[in-house]
Subunit: 656 residues, 2 copies
């Protein structure tokens, strides 16, 4: 080491470029935060791995503008068939269930392999920023200067990064590497470091404001944080064989998601996928904690044999196998998600579970989807650091719910814990069906509900009487079908100016902005118009919260955007019937025609009935504050300016 | 010229890489034909130019897999407002019309500038082939050896191409070049050639089987073909000013398509566009044939002033102008579209007209969309050369219809031909509305109907009695709402195997294949099942037309694909209830799960009611032959194997 070591500063350093890390980098690309993202691997994933996409995940992709790619390429999960033994012990289709509850989301659950998801992220990040994944980079040492953690503009994190001269990791494609990146393999970080030390590598020091460990189940970042951050949980591990093949079979439901319980040969799950592929999940056996299965005994042929037994008398074969693996996963949650709100853990680094319900990649991405905008607002000085505390509060609960669900789901799927593939005990059909239906809110990802905090108001039902003058309480009765703390549901509304129908969610883009949705009601009634005009005047005032929290020199809608949806007949109005602040004027480009919407019949796509579906009174409307990640923070009267101001004043910083 | 001149052979040579040339190259990329495409310009279009996208054009884009890009980026045209003077002479909104008739297409008309369309084509071509546009290449000489034109495998065309060392064409971006590529500019090919001769350029000789001139209104290819190919038509020319701006205005309908007739100041059209832009069309004046307007008198300010007068008392200004131009266009159609079915002309090279109805780019692209698959089938030896004759027969009629429509539309829009922008004579509102509504089938592009030919059967209503044994006649009564010779309409059907809803048109991809749509009816009735099974047996026979026309060593569906849509309840069937030929087996990938569909209720997207919407009997079904470009060739009974065989035998070549 004769050369001086390079030292640099960055706002956000992300370790790990899997789905969780890429989601975070993607947020940073949209919010303009100085960011680096490093990964020890030489390439992204090519095939196999996680593949389930929740409805909610597709909504999030849409908020970043690339859901259509996933939606187009993926296989859509519409139906689930249950197969069980009949009186003669032969499997029969006993039921068909809908796979995603109707009207839960614009998107149904879908399946597409992780490599494509990573591709979409990489393209999206490159399109919106100069951030690029730096591969073959391994963190070596980590220090956190606790004296600086409370100071906004400091860089309390010091980390050394080693740049490898060449890729020491094994090639990942092909069937022969079925166990690659399976969690049955041991962590290879130490090995990679060991190998690389002999080479002509380069080391640098990075000072960071924030560090996020998205580095998987063997997280290096987590290990540096010590025992307070260990994963804790379920002691019993399950072992699953997974086979991605183009099936050659006479089984009629091979293109349908199936749960098959055989009489004598255990059970399996079929997940039809993109590109003619089908994934088969077969529980192989159970081992006790700490036990490691003998890898040499497992091959694609082993897994296929299991599948053939379950499916008999139907036949199944393949000539093309895209990927296979064996999973042995404990159900564990990290004790801590954040250290001093400067170092964060996300994704597999803080929760592991079985892959079967297709949840893992989704929950991991949603961890950093929750975190990203908060970090961006703090780094930009728009919001107080204290909002970062909500990350652990909100996401640790989700992780625990996931483990609970997974626990129940895995147990049900395999009946009493199966001793091996020949275990014949199955669960009752009724039990399975109920669990599947109950789980749909959860598996679709739209069931997540964040509790009251600085950034989610408490409900006035929870605090009916003893509220201080300035306390912010949400009045759910103004939008009886919108749930405080859950993501804003989506229905179609029309742009006032050009009649184009939009799902409301399409206008809630992930660009880091808060939004106030003004359901203006029927402005053709003079009393209602007076309320709306009064609100407009308050919002437009130089002392309004819109003005106080507006960064110097930036447009009025750069941190908080006002969108309005009225319920008068579209053809009776123009945007000039609304306060100017609802369609702000700009010297260069004139009036804004993309902020005022109406709940009316469209020319080609029917009537969204948004007011009705949100449970909002069409005459008097309401106001809803929506977070940058589309979760509902507050519901109140359309003209309750004071509560809106109080809400934002709790955490937004006055700019001057 | 001391170096030997390079000589090479190519199946298809395309001159001109505008929308018509790119559409053709795109077909070639999908069908694997050895193709070159050259253009004299150094770059593609960046902004301005043509912008209207018909519903039918979007359907075609979708058949190539990139409609979603256009649909996402474009501005959708949903509504048209008419403004006319009131009794006080002030303009008032007098009417709102729907812009695309309901249920005509999955897509409504949209607006997006030509540069993006070219980008989508370039990406699509690159993704599917090694074909790349060769820029700065100019054809110099053309010879056609008439002794070879009838011989399939000959290269009767000899053309010399000059590769320019540098771009002699003017830069195209920016407002200052508003007249660039406007047809008011003189043809610059000669000038470019002249300039380039002094440079160190390279010349090559290309022998081609087919040459397609997509080289615009000043077509060099057309000129080489002599006077028999001249454009003929309307002697009176109109002059229009066009301004693409981000408008700053208090006019409330600026984001709606508007036709505005003012009392004193002439008329204008507003076309709202993507990226906050709005296009204004203003008729400036009329000049007689051969007259050229004085370019120095026209500037964006001239055009804006016209707009301000029409819009008064509303105000309009701009700070950003994206593009502007002046058009002076005659309405003309070429005398011939093809020489010996070896050299073809397409797009502006054979028809010119006013831009106002947003038709030009669409009709041009549809010229080569009509031609491309025919050339591909002939080059591959799948079909007889004689099908190429249908290009001129089909497209010359469309061009003439376009001119007729344009003539009427232009005249109506400006009332009696306006002498200048101050001409006060307007047309009656009733007249305008009727013309607009009548024109909708035409302007959407779905009204095109090709007449009987080798590749479109005659209707049995036209030839009721005197038919020969072997004559193929279409029996429209089997699908009363499907029109012979028009494009197959689209309704949603479900995939039998996975319940996924598809617009039927989404399964009619532009990949060069003919399709037989077997509307199998209710196969739960044994008589119907027997008919379907009999057809399946005939189709699967080694002497069937599927077998006879199948290229050696290729899959059974490589030239003619059988898709079936049945009307039995989906959950009562599996694909194994249908003849194997309906879901062919492949040794490598098993059964085909993507060819059998059902007209049934979907889980999330309602019921497509395809049988009802096509006017097909749900019990007995029917069969429909659809061309590779989605036009309907024949309608008949579901089991009329003999007519299907006879139809294809008219032009398909037996392979052996």
């Amino acid at each position: 080491m004769s050369n001086p070591v390079e030292v640099s500063c960055v706002d956000v350093l992300i370790v790990g470029a899997g789905p969780a890390g890429l989601m975070l980098a993607n947020w940073m690309s949209r919010t303009g935060i100085k960011t680096r993202i490093v990964d020890k691997r030489g390439t992204k994933i090519f095939n196999g791995q996680a593949d389930g996409l929740q409805s909610r995940t597709l909504e999030i992709f849409d908020s970043f503008g690339f859901a259509y790619r996933a939606w187009q390429e993926s296989n859509h999960m519409l139906e689930m068939c249950l197969w069980n033994p009949d009186d003669n012990g032969l499997i029969q289709r006993t039921d068909r269930l809908i796979d995603t509850i109707q009207n839960l989301s614009r998107f149904q659950q879908a399946v597409l392999h992780q490599g494509r998801i990573e591709r979409f992220f990489l393209d999206s990040i490159a399109e919106h920023s100069k951030i690029r994944v730096e591969r073959l980079v391994i963190p070596e040492t980590l220090e956190l200067d606790e004296s600086k953690v409370a100071l906004d503009n400091e860089y309390p994190i010091r980390i050394s990064l080693r740049h490898l001269a060449e890729d020491p990791a094994p090639a990942q494609s092909g069937v022969e590497n079925g166990l690659f990146r399976s969690n049955i393999t041991e962590d290879d970080t130490e090995g990679i470091l060991e190998t690389s030390k002999a080479k002509e590598d380069r080391t640098e020091i990075v000072n960071a404001k924030y560090l996020i460990g998205c580095d998987g189940a063997h997280s290096w970042v987590r290990k540096q944080l010590g025992d307070d951050f260990a994963l804790v949980g379920e002691a019993t591990d399950y072992v699953w064989g997974v086979l991605d093949i183009i099936p050659i079979t006479d089984f009629p439901d091979i293109r349908t998601r199936c749960a098959i319980h055989s009489q004598e040969s255990g059970s399996m799950m079929i997940i039809p996928r993109e590109n003619k592929l089908t994934r088969l999940y077969i529980q192989l056996k159970e081992v006790s904690t700490g036990g490691r299965i003998d890898r040499s005994t497992i091959s694609p042929a082993t897994i296929l044999k299991g599948a053939q037994k379950v499916l008999a008398p139907y036949k199944i074969e393949y000539k093309y196998c895209d990927w296979w693996t064996v999973y042995q996963i404990g159900q564990r949650v990290g004790k801590g998600f954040s250290k001093h709100d400067r170092i964060f853990l996300a994704g597999d680094a803080v929760h592991t579970h079985s892959p079967k319900a297709g949840q893992g990649m989704n929950v991991s991405m949603q961890d950093t989807y929750n975190l990203g905008w908060k970090i961006a607002q703090v780094v930009k000085g728009e919001a107080d650091r204290s909002i970062l505390q909500t990350y652990e509060a909100e996401r640790r609960k989700v992780a625990r719910d996931l483990i609970d669900f997974d626990h129940k789901f895995s147990r049900l799927f395999s009946g009493k814990p199966a001793k091996d593939i020949l275990d014949t005990e199955g669960i009752s059909l009724a039990e399975f069906k109920k669990a599947f239906a109950d789980g749909n809110m959860f598996t679709s990802g739209v069931g997540v509900k964040y509790s009251g905090s600085q950034i989610v108001a408490v409900s006035d039902e929870d605090h009916p009487s003893d509220k201080a003058d300035n306390e912010v309480t949400s009045k759910g009765q103004f939008a009886s079908k919108v749930v405080l703390g859950m993501r804003m549901p989506s229905f179609k509304v029309l742009n006032q100016s050009d009649a184009r129908p939009w799902h409301l969610q399409e206008r809630l883009k992930s660009d880091g902005r808060w939004r106030i949705l003004i359901f203006a009601g029927n402005i053709k009634r003079s009393t209602q118009l007076a309320r709306v005009n009064k609100l407009g005047k308050q919002l437009a005032s130089p002392t309004s919260f819109l003005s106080r929290f507006r960064p110097v020199g930036k447009p009025i809608d750069s941190v908080i955007e006002v969108l309005s949806i009225h319920s008068s007949p579209r053809t009776d109005c123009t945007i000039f019937d609304f306060p100017d602040i609802f369609h702000p004027y700009n010297d260069e480009v004139g009036w804004d025609y993309w902020k005022i919407f109406v709940d009316d019949e469209s020319y080609h796509e029917g009537h969204g009935e948004a007011y009705k579906n949100y449970g909002i009174d069409v005459e008097t409307g309401c106001a809803i504050i929506v977070r940058p990640d589309q979760y509902v923070s507050w519901i109140g009267a359309v003209d309750d300016y004071q509560q809106m101001d109080s809400f934002f004043s709790r955490f937004m910083k006055v700019q001057s």
